[in-house]
Subunit: 90 residues, 2 copies
Amino acid sequence: MVRVAIDVLLKDEILDPQGQAIERALPQLGFEGVRDVRVGKHVELDLPDGDDLDERVHAMADQLLANPVIETFTYRVLGEGEGREGHDAR
Amino acid sequence: MVRVAIDVLLKDEILDPQGQAIERALPQLGFEGVRDVRVGKHVELDLPDGDDLDERVHAMADQLLANPVIETFTYRVLGEGEGREGHDAR
């Protein structure tokens, strides 16, 4: 099994109101100079390894995880200590 | 400026119904053997570089992007060709 992280974002040409809201809120919290905030979905999952991993991840994303009309995605295979097990808020 | 990706996930002990829904839907689409699906938020943003980058990202996440009671986050600095510019659905 490999653990894969898939990140789904709205395409650049699609308005991202959630990103804009964060961008407007940050200066009020004292964080200046933050630009171009985009918000999307992060999915982590275990799936069987294999030569067709890339193909399967693309198919899953196209069919279920992302809306290809308005969204794009990237994915990466997580290493040891990354992802769920490695999550730590501090 | 550096581009940072922040991934927010529910803590392991918190039930993730969206992840469960995806895990149940995948076999019906022909994707067998997918386990431990977790769904969260993916945020990308540009912010000024500096020695206190780590501190600022943690503060932003704790104050605005994640709910520390039920969520954890990880972040990474995106390199050239990663992130928004590198997003491509195929």
